[in-house]
Structure formats: structure tokens, C-alpha cells
């Protein structure tokens, strides 16, 4: 079991981990594992405070984390990410439906109608907000749209939440809700920080001060983003590198986790430029009678065309906050050099902000500042994520966008069409960045079939040919015994040599694809099959071994 082997290898170094691949059995009886065995109790984990400024400095100037970029370390033998406290396979799995995608993480319909009681609030900071309990006692954090862009931040947050949930991440339940000033009360004893951050009794005019900065509807109500309190005890943000020293289950360096590396694809698609540590949250929950940390992505207010408090900056997604080269060029040319993204034009939909697909270039998309996991992303990490993205149909995209409840149907159409356009670009970029074959099967007759994810997604024409090399695989020693020469086919199917299948417990096929415009397709994918009675089951896959 590769995952198990890596567990041991991580303890030494990644170099050893890589080397360990050739020693001992490759596959174990429980491979491919569907769930990461997070067996340790995490109840001793303590809250970790994070500095937003330090996060910027260390990622912009100090190159945090291990940048050697080995293969992702938390994948199973099928090169997939097992379910864990970080990730749950959803979109693309057999039981996942369009309705599941649109529903997202929601367990209800948002805060219950009736009296809402304010239990906390903040008037200072970039995004003032408040915490309420609804009539049922459920706790929600309320965030508001800026007056300049009604519906923008709340719409973007709901949409991004649904997407990231379907991708497989743990996210809060985020709802678009309506706040009526007259329904708001203040719980006894509620305090608010004064100008000197000292607590003082909260008053009605504090609520008014917060609402003054919010977009108000003509009928006097406020559209809010209601984010339901996450279950468990908050223990701080996770970082995109290293591990928590107080969580025994956290053994894979985050910059080498497949789902964090591959998140670059999703972030680029949804323009989640704020994909940084400060927008994550670890909570201590009880699962299977054991305390574990669950790792969440939170705060999607700066996604799509939203910059939370204003329309997204044109820089977002195009340049880090700090980059020396364009800065120097701009300085030395007295500003006459104009970064190309500055000239991009955006349609005037206040509810959308600045979001577009024509200029968007997935490979050069950037978050606010370097993210160690994104930096380490390898083609197979990006392919993994792009393959998930490819499962989102146009209907799924439109269904999610509808949940943002934009009052201007043109805004909703524009967001959906832009997302569909960007999805196409994302898939074209990253399904073609490596050999895209997948869904390999070997039946009892020796008929070998596979698919081409790029062709299936409509972002490439078929390969001219596929070249296959067959081997009998000795699992005990992890050695291949090649049988015969290269087999060339023009369609994604072939007949395995009869001699190969006789008496073999494991066989492998090394497949390369050739396409005049897709040089990366010639990288190898090795698939492994294990005999199960008269049939063969796929037990392993290595992309770019």
C-alpha cells in the first residue's frame, strides 16, 4: 500500500520516500484505500494564532515549505486522494448527482425567519459583520455586500462555497438571507470592541453603524451572507506547507498534499485569489468516537469578480501583491509600461464585479501571493483537479449560480457563461498538460480499454496513436517483466497478449499517447491490474512515474 509506505517514509525524508517506491511489495490487500486512516486522537491540539502579515512575508520573500516538489504524498495507488479530514471525494463519484452539487453543504435553508439575536459584532476592519442566533438557536456569521456592489460578495461566496464543496473540500454552510432591521435584537450582555479594542456594552446604534456600510435594498431590508457556525472547536488556520506539530494525524507536509496542490486549478477557475492560510480553519470535532481536526476552507468573499468590499482588483489573478520584475519595469519606464491585465475591460454588472474569461490564462493565474502547495503543483496534481472540474456540466454551473439569487438575470447569465468559458480554458490547459488517459479497464478476455479525459471533455482532438508496453508485475519485489515489444493502436483499446495474462497475478501496461499538438501526452501512464478470479481489477495507476 503506497500510502502506508509513504507514512513511514515521511518520517525520514522525502528523498527516502521516493526511493522507497522500489523496495518491497507495491500493493497491499486493502489497496486502493478509499479513506486515509486518521487513527490518532487530536484532543490535545491547541489553538494556533496566525499573523496575516507574516503569512504574506514568509510566502512572498522567505519561500516557505519544501519546494522540491516530489510526487504528491497522500495519494492512493490509483493516484487519487483518499477521503480524509481534508477532503471528501464528491463530484465525479458514481453516486454524486447534479442536485448534490447545487445543494452543496447546506443542511437547511439558512437562518430561520423570526427574531435574530445579535451575540457579537465588529464595527472596525475591512469587513464589518455580526454574529446572530436565529429563532432556533443556530449561530450564523453575517456579512454584507458593499453599497457599491449590491449582491456581489454574497453571491460570489455562495457560488464558490457550492463549487468547493463539490470539489471535495470541507466548507461552511453559506446562505443568502434577508435581514430586517426590526427583527434584530441584542442578546443581554453582548459586548463590542470599542476604538481601543476594549469591550463595552453593545447598543442599537452599533448595529446601525454596521448597517450603514452595507448595501441596502429599496424596501429597507439587507441581503446578507449568513455563514453557519462550523461544528467543533476552532483551532486556527492551517498553512499551505508543513504540518501541525500538535496533530498526530497531520503527517503529510501540506505543500505535498494532492488536494492542496490541485486546488490551484479550482482557485484559478473561480478566481479565488484569496486562497491563503488566513482563509482556512481547523476545527476539533468528534468523529467515530475520536477527536480529530477537520480542515476547512472558509471565506470565499474574494472570488469571481468580488473583492469583498469592492469589485475585484484587476491585479487579482494576474500578479502577486509583490513581484519585482513588473515593478521595476513600471518604475523605470515612468509608468508608460502598462501591465497588460490593467487594460482588460469588464462588463458593468455591479452584482458581478470584475470577472471575465477572455483574458484569463489558467497557467499564469496567481493568488495574492505565492502559495507553497500551488508552487509545488505538478502536472499530475493539476490533471487530477482538472478531471474533477471536467465533471461539472453546464447545467451544474448554472444550477450553482442560480443559488446566488442575483436579482438581475443578466448578471446571473454572465457569471454562468464566464464560468463555463473559464472551465473550458482550465480543462484545455491542465487536462492536456500530461498524458490524459484514464478509466483503464482490463476484462477477463484480455481486452484493454481506456479513455482520454481531454477528448472526453472536448478540449482536444483524439490522439494519433497510443503506444502500449505490457509487463508482468512482480508485486513482492515491485519489478516489471516486460513481455513483447511496443504495441501501437489508434483507438483507446487493445488486446493484451495472451501469454501475459496466463498465470500472472499482476500485470501492468505502460501507455503513452501521441498527438502532434500535445507533446505532454507522450509522458507515460502505467496502470496495474490484479487478477480477481476470472477478472482483472485496476489496482494501481502512476501518472508521470
Amino acid at each position: 500500500m503506497r500510502t502506508r509506505r509513504v507514512l513511514a517514509a515521511v518520517a525520514v525524508t522525502f528523498a527516502l520516500a521516493t526511493g522507497a517506491r522500489t523496495a518491497g511489495p507495491k500493493f497491499f490487500g486493502d489497496d486502493p484505500i478509499p479513506r486515509d486512516p486518521e487513527t490518532q486522537d487530536a484532543s490535545r491540539a491547541q489553538p494556533i494564532d496566525s499573523s496575516e502579515q507574516f503569512d504574506f512575508i514568509e510566502n512572498s520573500f522567505l519561500k516557505a515549505g519544501d519546494r522540491t516538489a516530489p510526487h504528491a504524498v497522500n495519494v492512493n495507488t490509483l493516484d487519487e486522494v483518499p477521503d480524509s479530514s481534508w477532503f471528501t471525494n464528491r463530484a465525479g463519484t458514481p453516486d454524486w448527482t447534479l442536485a448534490d452539487t447545487v445543494k452543496g453543504p447546506d443542511s437547511e435553508n439558512g437562518p430561520a425567519e423570526g427574531a435574530w439575536t445579535v451575540v457579537a459584532a465588529k464595527t472596525e476592519g475591512i469587513t464589518p459583520g455580526m454574529t446572530i442566533r436565529d429563532a432556533t438557536g443556530a449561530k450564523y456569521f453575517l456579512k454584507f455586500d458593499p453599497p457599491s456592489n449590491p449582491e456581489m460578495a454574497s453571491g460570489a461566496e455562495v457560488i464558490a462555497t457550492k463549487f468547493f464543496h463539490a470539489f471535495g473540500y470541507h466548507v461552511p454552510e453559506n446562505y443568502v438571507a434577508t435581514l430586517r432591521r426590526e427583527s434584530l435584537g441584542i442578546a443581554a450582555g453582548t459586548t463590542i470592541a470599542d476604538e481601543d479594542r476594549r469591550p463595552r456594552r453593545m447598543e442599537a446604534r452599533d448595529i446601525d453603524a454596521i448597517l450603514e456600510k452595507a448595501a441596502r435594498r429599496p424596501d429597507g431590508t439587507y441581503r446578507v451572507l449568513a455563514s453557519r457556525e462550523l461544528p467543533g472547536r476552532p483551532l486556527g488556520h492551517f498553512r499551505y506547507y508543513g504540518t501541525r506539530p500538535d496533530d498526530a494525524n497531520d503527517i503529510y507536509p501540506h505543500e505535498h498534499r494532492r488536494e492542496l496542490r490541485g486546488m490551484l486549478v479550482f482557485a484559478a477557475w473561480l478566481n479565488h485569489d484569496d486562497s491563503r492560510s488566513i482563509n482556512t480553519l481547523d476545527t476539533l470535532i468528534t468523529q467515530d468516537n475520536r477527536a480529530i481536526l477537520r480542515h476547512h476552507l472558509i471565506d470565499f468573499g474574494s472570488t469571481l469578480g468580488s473583492g469583498s468590499t469592492r469589485a475585484q482588483s484587476t491585479r487579482a489573478g494576474n500578479e502577486f501583491l509583490w513581484e519585482s520584475r513588473p515593478t521595476l519595469i513600471t518604475m523605470l519606464t515612468l509608468g508608460f509600461y502598462v501591465r497588460p491585465w490593467v487594460k482588460v475591460r469588464y462588463p458593468d454588472y455591479p452584482a458581478v464585479g470584475r470577472f471575465e474569461a477572455n483574458y484569463f490564462m489558467p497557467q499564469s493565474w496567481k493568488p495574492e501571493y505565492p502559495n507553497p502547495a500551488f508552487v509545488n503543483a505538478r502536472p499530475e496534481d493539476l490533471f487530477w483537479a482538472a478531471r474533477i472540474a471536467s465533471t461539472f456540466t453546464d447545467d451544474a454551473v448554472r444550477g450553482i449560480v442560480a443559488t446566488a439569487r442575483f436579482s438581475d438575470p443578466r448578471a446571473a447569465d454572465y457569471v454562468a457563461e464566464t464560468l463555463i468559458h473559464r472551465r473550458h480554458k482550465v480543462l484545455e490547459a491542465w487536462l492536456n498538460a500530461t498524458n490524459p488517459i484514464d478509466n483503464a479497464r482490463l476484462d477477463g478476455t484480455g481486452r484493454f480499454t481506456f479513455e482520454n479525459a481531454a477528448v472526453r471533455a472536448g478540449v482536444s482532438s483524439p490522439a494519433e496513436r497510443y503506444v502500449i508496453e505490457w509487463s508482468r508485475f512482480d508485486n513482492a519485489t515491485s519489478t516489471h517483466h516486460r513481455l513483447g515489444g511496443e504495441m501501437t493502436v489508434t483507438e483507446p483499446h487493445a488486446q493484451a497478449p495472451a501469454a501475459l495474462l496466463t498465470d500472472a497475478e499482476f500485470v501492468s501496461a505502460r501507455v503513452r499517447a501521441f498527438h502532434p499538438d500535445r507533446p505532454a501526452w507522450s509522458q507515460a501512464v502505467v496502470v496495474y491490474f490484479q487478477r480477481t478470479g476470472a477478472q482483472w481489477r485496476l489496482i494501481g495507476l502512476e501518472r508521470n512515474p
Binding site: E195, M331, V338
Partner: protein, 374 residues
């Protein structure tokens, strides 16, 4: 592996830099030193004069009556021995935040103000220093009509003292100038004044504007309470506009200011109340206060470009003129300054500004400031 780690769990320990930043973010030491309510220390002080040197202030300030009133006691001093004592009481949120009433008393000691003589032909070599002390009690009313629009008025009693300057690098004023050259040098009366002002602020971020504008007008009338010589009026207009292009990554900023004084018949405007031209926010090719007369025109234009989100650069052009008559504030014989600047900033404020005048006047001349140009 997990079991092995379970036997060796550790508490996360941030490094030194992270600890420092966490402390700053969590404790906000600046807020502790200069709290909104309580005893405080601060850099600079209220309306600290240009050229007064590095200074600090301290005092006590607090909201009163459930934040419906506020009181401030402030003292400030600079290394050039300028000083301020100030007390202010205000009712800032009357009439549902539409009306502010306040009273303020100040005592300012400015021991080495600069003077080069009056008019546009004053000589750089005639620089002298003079003492200008003023004690003032003022009442104010400000009405906030709509977003960005404020109108108001003030009534004040003002006592002034002018004397020899203490800047050892330059002669004291009485060694070079007489009352004829500098009206008001020999005797200073007490004054009363009243004024009216209106301002319309539509800047996107007042501390670092990239769009919108600010348009302000102030009319003031001084009355000489003792000597019957210095009765006059002033009018001051300050118009700023910011033209953004490329998502505010480039900005053309323009500012025009006119300050005009008008003495009553047979009266004169004392030299210390006459407007000045020169320095970091008017004419950057000369020193602060380089020109002084009864009328001043200053025009500033800047082309600003964002090098990155924390640094703007600017090419600037300043034009200005002082004149004895308002009608003479025309386009002839304008003083000029052309130069370049660096501005380290956040979205909301300029933190550090370095402007260098390269052409015009007494260039090269540089200014390092912890504030915006305009």
C-alpha cells in the same frame, strides 16, 4: 508514523518575526500608546507647523456621555522647541449625526518661523526667523448635510505675539526687516474672527485619493481688537480632482489653491497672516514659506503610477505665484517646480513620501514626508 508522531506532539512555537507580528496585530501597540480614550502619546500634534521638526504630543482624551461628547487635552512639542497646549470639547453627533458643536482653546508657541520678505522678489539670502505665538479660543458649528458635504462656521478670539526668532542659523527678523517691510512686526493686537466654510469631499480615499475630488472654500473676517490697524478678510479656495485611468493604477491629480486677503480701507494685513508659497505641498522647488504676500496662487499637477500595490511614483509640476493684488494672480511670471516622487502607501494612506524637485526655482530640493502631497 501517526502513532510515532502521537508520542512526540509539540505545541506550535512561532519564530521571532512571527511573534513580533502577532504581537503587533493582536496587541496593536500603537493603539495602546495612543488610545482613543485615555492618556496617550502620539507622533506630531494637531496642526503642527511645517518646518517645526520632529515632534510628539501627549495628553488625555475621552468620549463622554455614552459617546455623545468628547474631550481632548493635548500638549505637543518639537525638537525645535515649537509647542502646543490645546483643549477641545465637542458634541460630535447631534441631530442624528448631522450637527457638530465644539469649543477649543489653544496656545501655540512657534519660535522660529521663516520669513524672506514680502512679494515675489524676496531674496533667498534674506531668510530670517521670527517667533509667532498665538492663543485662541474658538467655537464651531459644523453641519453635515449629505454624504461628503459639510458647511460650518467658527467664532474666535485670538491673541498674537511676534518677536525675534531663535533659529541660530539665520538672523532674527528685527535684524533685517522693519515694520514697514513686515507690517505687524512691531505691535500685535488681539483679534476676533468669524468664518464660514463649505467643503464637498468626494474622494474615494481621503488619505490616498485616486478618484473623485475635494472642493473647499473658506471665508474669514479678522477684527483688530486693540490697534484698529489690522482689519481684513481672507478667502481661500482649495480644489482637487483626481482622474483615474486603468483601474486607478494611473492617476492624474490636479490641485488649484487660491488664498487671497483683503484689508479694509486704510488697514493692512499683518505679514504673519499673509499666505505663503513654497514647500512640499505647494511649490517644491523652494523651501517652505519661501514667498509671502497678500495673494497666493498654487497649482499642482501630478501624474501618478502604481509600481506595485505598496508603492506609487509620481511626476509632478508645480506652478505658483504670490502677488500684492488679486488681479495679478495671472499666468505670467509663475514660479515652477518639476520633479519626481516616490510614495509608499496602502490603499487608504500615504505612509512615506519622497519628492525631489529637479527643475525650477532653487532646485534640486527634496522633501521627505509622512503624508500625502494632496
Amino acid at each position: 508514523m501517526r502513532a510515532a508522531k502521537a508520542g512526540n506532539l509539540q505545541t506550535y512555537e512561532p519564530g521571532r518575526l512571527e511573534k513580533l507580528l502577532l504581537y503587533i496585530e493582536r496587541e496593536d501597540p500603537q493603539r495602546k500608546i495612543a488610545p482613543w480614550n485615555g492618556f496617550y502619546l502620539d507622533y506630531g500634534y494637531t496642526d503642527k507647523p511645517l518646518g517645526s521638526g520632529i515632534g510628539f504630543s501627549g495628553g488625555y482624551r475621552h468620549d463622554l456621555f455614552e459617546r455623545r461628547a468628547r474631550v481632548v487635552f493635548e500638549t505637543g512639542a518639537t525638537w525645535r522647541r515649537y509647542s502646543l497646549v490645546r483643549a477641545d470639547f465637542s458634541l460630535p453627533s447631534l441631530a442624528r449625526d448631522h450637527l457638530e458643536l465644539g469649543v477649543e482653546a489653544t496656545d501655540r508657541h512657534n519660535p522660529e518661523e521663516d520669513f524672506y520678505g514680502l512679494g515675489s522678489t524676496s531674496l533667498q539670502g534674506n531668510r530670517v526667523s521670527f517667533l509667532f505665538d498665538r492663543r485662541e479660543v474658538q467655537g464651531r458649528a459644523v453641519v453635515k448635510l449629505i454624504d461628503g458635504l459639510r458647511i460650518g462656521g467658527r467664532m474666535a478670539w485670538l491673541g498674537t505675539d511676534v518677536g525675534g526668532g531663535s533659529d541660530s542659523r539665520y538672523p532674527s527678523i528685527e535684524q533685517v526687516f522693519t515694520d514697514a517691510d513686515a507690517p505687524g512686526l512691531d505691535e500685535q493686537p488681539n483679534y476676533s474672527y468669524g468664518d464660514l466654510f463649505a467643503e464637498f469631499d468626494r474622494r474615494d480615499e481621503p488619505g490616498n485619493a485616486r478618484a473623485g475630488g475635494y472642493y473647499g472654500v473658506l471665508w474669514r473676517r479678522y477684527r483688530d481688537l486693540d490697534l484698529g490697524r489690522y482689519n481684513f478678510g481672507t478667502i481661500e479656495a482649495d480644489l482637487q480632482h483626481f482622474f483615474p485611468i486603468f483601474d486607478k493604477k494611473r492617476v492624474f491629480a490636479v490641485r488649484g489653491r487660491v488664498f487671497s486677503t483683503d484689508a479694509d480701507d486704510g488697514q493692512v494685513v499683518p505679514f504673519y497672516f499673509r499666505p505663503t508659497l513654497g514647500g512640499n505641498d505647494t511649490l517644491r522647488s523652494v523651501r517652505d514659506f519661501r514667498f509671502r504676500d497678500t495673494n497666493v496662487l498654487a497649482i499642482n499637477a501630478e501624474y501618478r503610477w502604481e509600481a506595485f500595490s505598496g508603492l506609487d511614483m509620481a511626476l509632478f509640476a508645480d506652478l505658483g505665484k504670490v502677488a500684492p493684488r488679486f488681479a495679478d494672480l495671472d499666468s505670467t511670471d509663475l514660479e515652477r517646480a518639476y520633479g519626481i516622487g516616490l510614495r509608499f502607501n496602502t490603499y487608504k494612506a500615504v505612509l512615506l513620501r519622497l519628492d525631489v524637485s529637479l527643475v525650477g526655482g532653487e532646485s534640486p530640493r527634496y522633501f521627505i514626508k509622512f503624508d500625502k502631497a494632496f
